[in-house]
Amino acid sequence: MADLNALRQAVINGDHTSARRITEEALGENTDPLQIVTGCLVPAMDEVGRLFEEEEYFIPEMLLAARAMKESMELIRPRLTATGAPSSGRAVIGAAKGDLHDIGKNLVASMLEGAGFDVHDLGVDVPPEKYVEAVKTVKPHLVCISTLLTTTMPALKKTIDAIDAAGLRDSVKIMVGGAPVTQQFADEIGADGYGENARSAVQKARELTARGAA
């Protein structure tokens, strides 16, 4: 029997080789793929997030854990799709126009994936109209916009305004984040949520989409 506890620990430790091996074993034994995600990967990434908030983990440890989680997810995803298991929701994510930084954005994207979201990553330097287009085609529950630079902070507001102007504002929840962003700023520009770090972003994403689905 594949040891799901060991899989959870492998993700927490950022050991992608073990994560992949145990996932393969588990799937080979016909373990319910949704059970691996909700019983194992989600709690593992929760724990990684907690360690980050406790300042035992910093970005390197988070990235290694995210990679281990991702490799496991890659094996599980085809099975999940085959069984028609529901996802936590669809999310569109990107770095604001003018911003070429993607470390934080990638981290949040990985963590959202780990929390069972179907994530569509638009990349960096994403103009407002591209977000609008993605909202139309992907029909996400959630749009996440990030910025590392203070100079690109106004682009967050422009993106929200563009989604509003396209008449799509009520169809999605919008979250913003990145080093210079604060709750106050998020409120000022009319975002629905803000995550101080990747973990709180995922918690907020769950809250917002749960409310949205109700």
């Binding site: 300042e55 983990y57 910093f58 970005i59 390197p60 440890e61 990235l63 290694l64 990679r67 126009k97 003018g98 911003d99 070429l100 930084h101 470390i103 330097d125 203070t150 100079t151 690109t152 902070m153 106004p154 682009a155 507001k157 080093a179 210079p180 604060t182 106050q184 700023f185 000022e188 520009i189």
Partner: protein
């Protein structure tokens, strides 16, 4: 201490310059464009920034070369012009300084992550070597490795800078953790001192990441861990949003009020980072002269 730093610091702490990016955006640099490319296309406007700091009393001005390594320039299709952009950057600051200030050339991070394989040690070493050599050829008095987050990348840049024979300042950005005393990679000031000193730094410091008040404990810890001169370039508080514009609320006077505590904490070089402008440097100079 090297001869240049001894000479500069002989009569007490020295004033450096303030932010460049914000001033360049105010001069019309489009968002998302490479600021460094302006050394070739808008040299007059870049020179104006450097001159505004020299005239404000900066004894050291930096260069518009923060992102002029080939890995960052590649994102703008300018990788092969790295050497040219760096040399031009130093020449512009030298013209602006006109002998009234020393020119310390800026080397920033690539923005690529080593640990996820976005770049490699070899690629970083080569990119920083190319940049450092070009800056030295342009006539820089010293090199400043700044805003570093990853100690491995910082060490690569410091080693490359050191090979030019010029004095090297090495700074990291502390903005993470409850006390904002870690880099986002988790590095503490003490760990930074160890890595940067081993790589050959002649001065150790911190720039960006938080408002000036947060730099006092960082400065104390750097100073306690290292006999080298300490370099501090602080932000004008945290950015806020007003009428669609990003503003920094710290005034030059509030900023300058932290100069004495910084000197007491061991700072030898003091200047500004994001949100500061020549008025801040004027205020710092006045405080130090008082």
């Amino acid at each position: 201490m090297n001869a240049l730093f001894s000479e500069l610091l002989a009569s007490g702490p020295v004033v450096t310059d303030g932010a460049w990016g914000t001033l360049l955006y105010m001069s019309g640099l489009p968002m998302g464009d490479s600021p460094d490319a302006w050394n070739l296309t808008h040299a007059d406007r870049v020179e104006k920034v450097a001159r505004s700091y020299t005239e404000a009393g900066a004894q050291i001005v930096l260069t518009n070369t923060f992102g002029a390594n080939r890995l960052t320039l590649k994102k703008h299709g300018l990788a092969d012009r790295a050497a040219e952009i760096n040399r031009a950057g130093v020449e512009i600051s030298r013209r602006a300084a006109a002998g009234r200030a020393r020119v310390f050339a800026s080397i920033g991070p690539t923005g690529l992550m080593l640990m996820t394989g976005e770049t490699s040690e070899d690629e970083l070493d080569a990119a920083f070597e190319e940049q450092a050599e070009a800056l030295a050829k342009g006539g820089a008095d010293a090199l400043v490795v700044e805003t570093m987050l990853d100690p491995a990348e910082a060490a690569s840049a410091v080693r490359a800078a050191k090979r030019t024979g010029l004095p090297v300042v090495a700074c990291m950005t502390y903005s993470a953790g409850k006390k904002k005393d870690r880099t986002v990679m988790g590095t503490t000031p003490e760990q930074a001192v160890e890595v940067l000193t081993q790589a050959g730094a002649d001065a150790i410091g911190s720039n960006c990441g938080q408002g000036v008040e947060g730099f006092i404990p960082i400065c104390q810890r750097l100073h306690a861990a290292s006999p080298l001169p300490i370099w501090i370039k602080a932000n004008a508080g945290l950015p806020e949003m007003e009428n669609g514009e990003v503003v920094y609320k710290t005034t030059p006077e509030q900023f300058a009020a932290h100069v004495k505590p910084l000197v007491e904490a061991g700072a030898s070089f003091i200047g500004g980072c994001c949100g500061t402008n020549p008025e801040f440097i004027r205020a710092v100079r006045k405080t130090l002269a008082a």
